[in-house]
Symmetry: C2
Subunit: 456 residues, 2 copies
């Protein structure tokens, strides 16, 4: 009898706890959808500041702006964490055209890939050889590639439901195409934009020369998907077609920048740290609204939404605006280095860096035991149409925190539209839907609430 | 032993069947995402034809276009089902402004509600009384309302995750506001647009006078959400503010139009009918891409996607482009009438009329037994991030088919953006994402495949 009463008491307390959680999560969503700040902050970050490439004046303005805004949110402490970042500047607008063997020139849309070297002042003009991937280069060899422009034209696979998987299956051409082609004497590399849609916007993004001597590096640019199709079609009928492109980006010495960090000390377990963040830097073509202004402002609203819902953190929560995700990951690396140096016990980190679209769930990087704990919370998210709790990833900036004792997580918004905007001139504030952004902020806050309450 | 072998054989066949279903559904999604036709058709319907209000020349062009396109798809039969539809024409662009008591006029954005009568040629000018709903009118009475313009300003509830619920909670003002206000002597009704976002686009949509004599009807228009906020704010400081609006829509006699129907006869159960469709008519302000061009072209692609996936229907499948969902439901009503008259055994009907956004699931109107059967298929959709199988609705056009023996269903796309476009001048093709549209077509086709294979 005693046992039965005890069991009933336990069941009742579990049930009350689940009910309280459901109620608190409802409060969080209500607060975000009726009284969220994320959209207003993003408006300023995007329209008031704009593109925030590491080392730029805008990146510095974004650091100062988010520090000032976080200063108003009731954190116990807001500070800047110094970090040296690369500084690459695009320079003049790029020029490019297809030169038919009959002398006709067709202008096309390109943009230098991030980190690329410049062409000579007069540009590069050469015959073009189209490939579907880096692995084709070896068979072609220097005989076919020397003096040529290599055109990497393998498209993203449209049948993959998660567009990040499609991106992952093609992006090696952007990251490694130029370096690989240069080994066979190519003089330039043109890469089909990482875009599932056919349109006219070239997509930038980092290319990697690694330790290659600067004088051996060849210039590389992305071409819009429409123009990639055009170039490919032209090559089929006119094998002597040439390609011209001209760009003058420049790599400067590293400069000082900062991660922006706000912290509220936990009331019960101040030595257990929970991180939530996004990256403050962006590429330079658009204003970085989806990548990753959205993740920053959603993270900034977490503490505010908890407060509006009457929830006081038991563990120490840090909101981090990471610097330099796009071309160096220096901010994420430095944050993890300092955390390790100070022996801070980070139990959980959540990043939003997949756009400000309708949230669909989370992806976790965790051991099985902790993932199973997380799965117990899944049903609490169903009223908000959050159904996906997957395993095998998180976010680039929080990756360096990985250890046996931490759970890493990434917000997973709907991915269908993301690669239309990613790294382009149209990743701008008008592509953001206020409700979708706010739903993301509420979804993140709800997970933070549960982790803070129950720990691991 | 025999029993065990039998059981194993059954389990094996269930397992093989599930595997085949998973493979066939994968083929359907692959076909839609790499070789779908829905986007191309919608481009023509939206950009080649445009808004398709019932009774308009464009509606007739859409009937002819979809009939011709369906004629190329290998149906056994494509035909037009005659139906008389209302014809309402907006007339000249509407004019409206707020008249401050100091004489200052502020121009605002309105549009006549569908079915509204005209104002006098010189417009209507009157003092404004703001209410949050029809139920406030009685207490105000003729004393407060006579000679006034009633301003219905209850907003959509932003905390509801399903925006259709938010719409449902406010749309009575649009449908019944004018009629209700006229009973107390009001001379006009202005209704806040059915939009969760603050912007400048007024949203049209039907208003209902019912059997009210024409000479007692008062003109009614929607005002953009930004201007509704402005008018409300102005009324708080200037109680003598007047509102002016002018519009000259006209209701004509009913005209002949058509549902467009394509049919393929089932190989095993030709007398069991499955319907999939959307509505071909739209409002007149935009080009009706989301409402409901999307649903039409997704339905048109169902048979094609089945064929590309090597699936031959066992039951008779009808693709129906319903006419006149927006202001009369004459097409849906007539389709059901004829089906009943011919004693056709309709077992299932699926409608897509919630926009061309990323599909999230379905809503079903069914008895419990059949719904439980449907639930067994749910896991087959999970690889495509389709998680929502709900109960309690379907689609307006298929509603008249309701009986004890049919399952009705509606595609449920992500609803967050829908009410930014719904019934406005910005419901246009550029608001459509190709992949999202194609995912919807594949999701519908997959459900049709399962219903066709297993029946009810």
């Amino acid at each position: 009898m005693k046992y039965t009463i005890f069991l009933l008491a336990v069941l009742l307390s579990v049930s009350i706890s689940a009910q309280t959680d459901a109620e608190n999560i409802k409060k969080i969503y209500d607060a975000s959808l009726s009284n969220g700040k994320s959209y207003e902050w993003l408006d300023y970050l995007s329209n008031g500041i704009g593109g925030r490439l590491s080392g730029s004046e805008n990146a510095e303005r974004a650091v100062q702006y988010t520090k000032a805004e976080m200063g108003k949110l009731g954190f116990d402490k807001v500070w800047l964490q110094p970090v040296m970042v690369p500084k690459w500047v695009r320079g003049n607008p790029e020029e490019a055209h297809i030169e038919m063997s009959n002398g006709k020139a067709i202008k096309v849309n390109i943009c230098a890939l991030g980190g690329s070297v410049a062409t000579p002042d007069s540009g590069v003009t050469a015959e073009v050889i189209e490939v579907q991937g880096i692995d084709e280069l070896e068979a072609l060899g220097e005989a076919k590639l020397k003096g040529k422009i290599v055109f990497f034209n393998r498209p993203l696979d449209p049948t993959l439901i998660n567009t990040f998987s499609a991106y992952g299956g093609a992006v090696d051409q952007r990251g490694g195409g130029a370096r690989a082609a240069s080994k066979y004497g190519a003089v330039g590399a043109i890469v089909r934009s990482m875009n599932l849609r056919l349109d006219d916007f070239p997509h930038t993004g980092g290319t990697r020369y690694g330790d290659q001597p600067v004088n051996e590096r060849i210039p590389t640019a992305a071409i819009s998907t429409n123009d990639a199709e055009l170039l490919s079609k032209t090559l089929k009928t006119d094998t002597k077609v040439k390609f011209f492109f001209k760009q003058n980006p420049k790599q400067y010495d590293d400069v000082l920048s900062h991660n922006v960090i706000g912290e509220i000390t936990g009331s019960e377990f101040p030595n257990e740290y929970i991180v939530v963040g996004g990256h403050l830097d962006s590429w330079d073509l658009g204003d970085g609204s989806h990548d990753d202004g959205a993740g920053c402002v959603q993270s900034m609203d977490v503490l505010r939404l908890l407060k509006l819902s009457g929830i006081k953190p038991k563990r120490t929560i840090r909101v981090v605006m990471f610097m330099n995700e796009e071309n160096g990951l220096r901010g994420g690396t430095e944050y993890a280095r300092v955390a390790k140096e100070k022996n801070e016990n980070h139990i959980f980190a959540l990043e939003s860096d997949s756009g400000g679209f309708t949230p669909r769930g989370f992806i976790f990087d965790s051991n099985e035991e902790r993932f199973n704990k997380v799965l117990q919370w899944k049903s609490l998210f169903e009223p908000y149409l959050i159904h996906f709790f997957g395993q095998g990833g998180s976010g680039a900036d929080i990756g360096p925190l990985k250890s046996d004792s931490i759970v890493l997580a990434g917000l997973r918004p709907d991915s269908q539209r993301y690669f239309e905007y990613h790294h382009t001139s149209i990743d701008t504030f008008d592509a953001i839907n206020k409700r979708e952004l706010e739903l993301g902020a509420a979804t993140m806050t709800s997970l933070i609430y549960l982790v803070d309450k129950y720990g691991f």
